[in-house]
């Protein structure tokens, strides 16, 4: 073979770019391949919400760790990443959801994450466009937002500055047991190890991998500065995100630095196409207007879709694959890939180099699916 790398990362989304930045910074001879461009797939359909989530202990550990890495990185980020420390406002519609807000408050506080409970009046003061009558909410102070495609580009640039190489429009056909890859044109590139960071497309390179495509819709509005101030999410979001069978929508809105607002969210399995599904889009916007009635008077400028990489246990796959110890994974981040990209990159580099990891990596090991009990989810 004419050339050889320590590590080849397939997929230049934000997860692949974060892995490349960490590997290259650690001195590994790194190559990144993508059949498209940097951050053009799932990354371009992510809201860019940097959020600590408590679906499970392992999810909180990775999201909180990653959020800390984003905070450490913020002064280095280029302006186009549009990092904004706006916090998250979890909205409780009724008393049952307020109880959930208080449970969440306790959980975060016990783990030293800064949060504060708002009653109905506090919520209205924080976000005057929310409808009256909501029970209250929970503000998570250190959550933030970024513009994902530029964040991926920033991380890739960091990798390149540390000597990594990137090839766009380079489609990979197979990951080879010896660590190299075979390209779509049949040529081969040698490496000590490969990493499948192709998100929802990961099973194409690893048939049988328990990763499913979960479609989402996004709407962006025209510029209305000050309409909302936080990333606002309904606490009912958890019901939507957890529902694994049915199509679901939840209210989730984000202020951008331009004054535009990004509106989500929808979740659909078995919807492979990129087309806009008007029925679920209508449901999604109707849900948003239940919380922000005056939203209906504003103009949307664009609607688009993307696919998340969903795993059966809602945790990503980071580390050696089951089949070969030279073929690794950094995939399955579902709706949290922008947040957890930094934690994933750091964990992957630590594992590759045999360094101690700052949080336990075992919960994300692909080997957890070895017994086949959750194969295909």
């Amino acid at each position: 073979m004419s050339q050889s790398f320590d590590i080849i990362i397939v997929g230049a989304g934000i997860v692949g770019a974060a892995c490349a930045a960490e590997c290259a910074a650690a001195g590994l001879k790194t190559l990144v391949l993508d059949r498209g461009i940097v951050g053009g797939g799932t990354t371009a359909a992510g809201m860019g919400h940097i959020v600590a989530m408590d679906d499970s202990e392992a999810q909180f550990a990775l999201t909180e760790y990653s959020r800390r890495l984003w905070l450490q990185l913020r002064d280095q980020l280029s302006a186009d990443v549009e990092y904004e420390l706006c916090g998250t406002l979890w909205v409780a519609a009724d008393d049952a959801e307020m109880a959930e807000a208080r449970r969440k408050e306790k959980y975060y506080t016990e783990r030293k994450a800064r949060v504060e409970i708002l009653d109905g009046h506090g919520l209205r003061r924080a976000e005057p466009n929310l409808r009256p009558g909501l029970a209250g909410g929970l503000r998570v102070l250190d959550d933030s937002v970024v513009y994902p495609p530029c964040a991926a580009r920033f991380l890739m640039d960091k990798a390149l500055r540390h000597g990594a190489e990137f090839r766009a429009g380079a489609a990979v056909r197979a990951l080879l047991p010896d660590g190299g890859v075979e390209m779509a044109d049949g040529s081969r590139i040698g490496a000590g190890r490969s990493v499948n960071a192709t998100g929802p497309w990961s099973p194409e390179l690893m048939p049988g991998l328990p990763v499913r495509k979960r479609k989402g819709h996004l709407v962006i509005t025209d510029r209305y500065p000050g309409f909302v101030h936080h990333q606002i999410v309904e606490l009912g979001y958890l019901k939507s995100a957890h529902s694994v069978s049915k199509d679901s929508v939840a209210f989730n809105i984000q202020p951008r630095q331009t004054g535009q607002m990004l509106i989500g969210s929808s979740r659909q399995f078995d919807a492979e196409g990129a087309e806009v599904d008007h029925e679920i889009l209508s449901r999604m916007l109707a849900r948003a207007m239940e919380y922000l009635p005056s939203l209906g008077k504003l103009s949307a400028t664009r609607v688009w879709t993307g696919h998340r990489a969903a795993t059966p246990d809602k945790l990503p796959l980071i580390g050696p694959s089951l089949a070969h110890n030279r073929i690794w994974l950094a995939s399955g981040h579902e709706g949290l890939g922008i947040t957890t990209s930094l934690g994933t990159g750091r964990l992957l580099a630590d594992l590759v180099l045999g360094r101690n990891t700052e949080i336990p990596a075992q919960p994300y090991a692909p080997a957890r699916f070895a017994d086949g009990s959750v194969a295909n989810g």
Binding site: D222, Y224, K297, L298
Partner: protein, 82 residues
């Protein structure tokens, strides 16, 4: 004679025939710059059929109204260049 409607464009009273679109009233008020682009460039009506989005103005406090698709109403407050 058709009904006349009085509205205000940047505080200036304009009288138009019922059925007139806001873009025409803005032009009648002598405004050629309807809004500024993100980079601060002047913008005004181009397509006249609601597609190009260049003629947006603030109507009764609501930003980004398409002046070519909105009919004038009595006492309407229109602001350009915001």
């Amino acid at each position: 004679m058709a009904d006349q409607i009085q509205l205000r464009v940047n505080g200036k009273t304009v009288s138009v025939t019922a059925g007139t679109v806001v873009a025409a009233a803005v032009a009648q008020a002598g405004q050629t710059r309807f809004r500024r682009s993100v980079q601060g460039e002047a913008r005004g009506p181009l397509c006249g059929m609601g597609i190009c989005m260049e003629c947006r103005v603030t109507i009764n406090g609501q930003a980004h109204g398409r002046s070519c698709q909105t009919l004038c109403q009595e006492a309407m407050e229109v602001r350009t260049d915001e």
